[in-house]
Amino acid sequence: MTKKYDTPLLDELEKGPFPSFVTEMKKAAAKSEMAADELGLLEKSFRDKVTYWKHGGIVGVRGYGGGVIGRYSQLADQFPGVAHFHTVRVNQPSGLFYTSETMRFFCDLWDRYGSGLTNFHGSTGDIILLGTVTENLEPLATVLSMNGFDLGGSGSAMRTPSCCVGPARCEWSMIDTLDITYDLTQEFQDELHRPQFPYKFKIKTVGCPVDCNASIARADLSIIGTWKGPIAIDQDKVKDFAKKGVNIQEEIVNFCPGKCITWDGNNLAINNSDCLHCMHCIAKLPGALKPTPPFGAVMLIGAKAPFVIGATLSWVIVPFMEMKPPYEEIKTLIRNMWDWWNEYGKNRERIGELIIRRGMREFLEVCGLEPTPEMVREPRNDPFWFWKEEDLEKKPWEEFLK
């Protein structure tokens, strides 16, 4: 029998239709002293309206600098089961696909070495195993590796890359998000496991501009699938949607940000040269419209949460890149930007912050990228800017005024 705590406040969160995390904690608490004390500790937080976790400590496995987050309770005397309650991040399979057999392995593993509580998944995409003690870390990592799994990233490292469901089960995926994610993860194992950067670096790959993995909002490098060919139209299917009650004019034409669609009640026409590739018409008329090749990806840089300079969305650095194995172009680009960031970045400075501090020009030059209008919403609007000596020698007007 594990220790039992009265949890009148948490019990209130077992009511209602949505599955209860409290019920999950109680299930784990019935088998694990750690989970039992975690439940008791949480009830106390609810009563006192404050967290009782200490800042992380130094724990990990030999050779790695990440994958384990040290966690200790402030109230170890009262709740000894959570004196140590470390988190283990395990690199998830691309696309978050599992088999029952694999899931049972994780259950057996975690019942043996941890609290029995997990997250499927953490925000970055890792499998999160919540609550273990320091002496279990080496055997846990060993058993994981014997069964083909490895730890994920933490600290000032490349974080575990993640992606959307992609071509595994989506007709809109214009790049192989699962393969790109797997390939980059394998390519950069050293950078994932040994934190050698100024701060974290996240890579998220999605198959189309719908962005089902929020890549543009939370990845330092956002790889977003897109297309260059015209949108193929199956007129019969469009008419079917109209017959089924879709108001094509209101719902499709009027919402088009490129104002490039017309509909005469019988025929849908798209002026592809004005298309912004936003996906609205394609997503709202599934099966009737589809993107056509060439397929590739937009590369964007710099998304992050607010600290320190304010939240940023990723911005375009390569408007279109073909994404074919072995993905050498993107790998070279990543290595170049890392070298620059490592050289000039301050502690805790994300790559986007460094670009803002030192300027896009320097970043683009380091990456060997030419400036293009696709990189900006609009050109600058103040009348002073940098000139380099080499710029003064150039006479671009002679070319464009010919």
Binding site: H55, I58, V59, T134, A157, P195, P198
Partner: protein, 74 residues
Amino acid sequence: MEKEELKKAIYKLIEESAGKKKYKQQDVIKHFRQQGLADAQIKEAIRELIDAGDLIYTYFGGSYIELGEKRQGS
């Protein structure tokens, strides 16, 4: 500089700065680069020290390299 000599020098740098200045991996690389060593050579020496457990990566709002003995319970 021989690799074993470099490893000793890196360990000494971290040991002597303990409690005063925290070094990130790139700080160590920059430090020894001034002595004419290649980045890759320094990185390899750090890797061996970490693999042996003499040095470890630590995290406190950013990742650093510190003495292996700081790791609790190992």
